[in-house]
Symmetry: C2
Subunit: 171 residues, 2 copies
């Protein structure tokens, strides 16, 4: 079955993008990965409107990527911090891959704004593609793609229905 014959709704890339492809989602997750957990500190740091941040955080919680944890400061009502769930934390390779590409192509002349290091030995980290036999892959050219156990044949009647729940938005 060629890719053009497979139902694109049944694709792990598209499904993940339904969650993290929303505006600001990955930027908000980045803030939480970097240790900002409170609404005000995230909002102040990235400078988006409270309404937009609130929607983004609510969606990330509803999707199980972040969880709310209550905290209480003297004289104030209970507020919430946002922490990564296990599933949310497993998105780190997505952010690491975005960072690696940006470091290579979009960094300012002095270099990247942040450096990731292995906690154990201090060496810089990289995102690598390898196979289960331990070979390191240099590029997409080293990979073949074949239909998996969940492959679904595209039915022509469905072929013109957009598959992402969020519709395309005008730019």
């Amino acid at each position: 079955m060629e890719w053009r014959e497979q139902d694109p709704a049944n694709c792990s890339i598209g499904r993940t993008l339904e969650l993290v492809g929303r505006p600001w989602a990955l930027v908000v997750l980045r803030e939480v990965f970097r240790g900002l957990h409170r609404f005000d500190e995230i909002q102040r740091h990235i400078g988006i409107s409270p309404a937009v941040l609130s929607r983004s955080l609510s969606a990330l919680v509803a999707d199980g990527l972040l969880e709310r944890r209550p905290y209480h400061e003297a004289g104030q009502r209970v507020r919430h911090e946002y922490w990564l769930t296990t599933a949310g934390g497993e998105l780190f390779p997505v952010l690491a891959a975005l960072k690696a590409w940006g470091d290579r192509h979009l960094a300012d002349p002095p270099g990247p704004a942040t450096v990731h290091r292995h906690r154990g030995c201090g060496a810089p980290t990289v995102v690598a593609l390898r196979c289960d036999h331990g070979h390191v892959l240099d590029s997409f050219g080293d990979i073949t793609v074949e239909p998996g156990p969940g492959a679904v044949r595209l039915r022509e009647t469905e072929s013109r229905r957009p598959f992402l729940r969020q519709g395309p938005e005008p730019r």
Copy 2:
């Protein structure tokens, strides 16, 4: 310098998302990675409107991720195929990381819709985090993040300006 003190505009994740965080960008790139190069076949497969696809392709070309190559069919005017540039091809780890997460969390019960294999030996491929000393990292917990050579201190006057060129869009 803590992350909250760093200018978030100077972040490789955010900058890469300015290109690939646009609606449909990564889905369109996926189609090209999977061998669909012509407007009509991409449009038919993912089922988005021609206007939306045209805008997405134009942006990807303008950003240097795709390039147009002319082709000619008898009796028709010259048309163009869309092929990955070198920089575009280097985004493969981003797609591979999105796929890995989706395979784990969002695949249908039978399993993933596609399987990536090493062309050389046929073994399934994985996205791995490792350090320059060769250690394999299991999670974000194995990583420390520090300011890099391009780190820029956030100026308070800029702290409320959204840094992505595309504005947040209502959901």
